[in-house]
Amino acid sequence: MITTTHYLVLSLILFTLGVVGLMVRRNFITVLMCIELMLNAANLNFIAFSRQLGDLTGQVFAVFVITIAAAEAAIGLGIIVALVRLKQTTDLDRVNVMEG
């Protein structure tokens, strides 16, 4: 029997992997992918609770999360293109102009 807790633990693992990837990687493109992983974990939680409580609100908000994730990916990748044009790199460690 697969319970809601199974899904919550899976989404917990997924979110934690996303955070670890966010800190460990320094390629901007991979960092964006890790953010997508974290948003997916949130969606999994929303839908698991929607099922647990028999309430559609979770699924509606998962639709919103997917929309925001798509917008975020478009903006992030636009920033990458602009960054490569400016500094010829996607290495986050080399993007430190604002440090003064």
Partner: protein, 184 residues
Amino acid sequence: MSWFLVHFAQLVFYVMASCVIAGAVGVIAFRSPVHAALSLLASFLGVAGLFVLLEAEFLAAVQVLVYAGGVMVLFLFVIMLVKARAIPREPQYVNRLVPAAVGLGVVLALLLGAGMWASVTGAPADAAALQRVAGAQLGNTEAVGWSLYRDYLLPFEVVSIVLLVAMIGAIVLGRKEPGKEGRA
């Protein structure tokens, strides 16, 4: 045969869950961004399968279309667009951050786990509520549509404006600066 039917959902769950986790680990572990993107695709598809298992068929379709179709193509396009030498070649782990990242991950896992432990005490839904979620005639898509356009119309419109802003922003960011033609 009946054993198989009883345990089929479990089997699907564990296959999909291992697909999701292996994909996520691949995103972190692969050095090549193309490999990471394909690994992310496996993770997305696993999540879509889990949505089907959770009887959210509409969300599963949206997940495949938007993530596996749209976002993934966008990622691959940008990886191809960016010159190969722009992507950091050096060992990609920032060594001094790895202990901090693992420590933060453990702390976060404990915190989230504690929160979930506290939250999964509500009683499961009754049959009538599950029926409402499944949709009366046309299935889950109908039910989500009713909820989205009746109860959450204003958030829906706001989100569509967010999408418009993101689209304009992406166009502005991707445009060449006037007077700097020929760089890029």
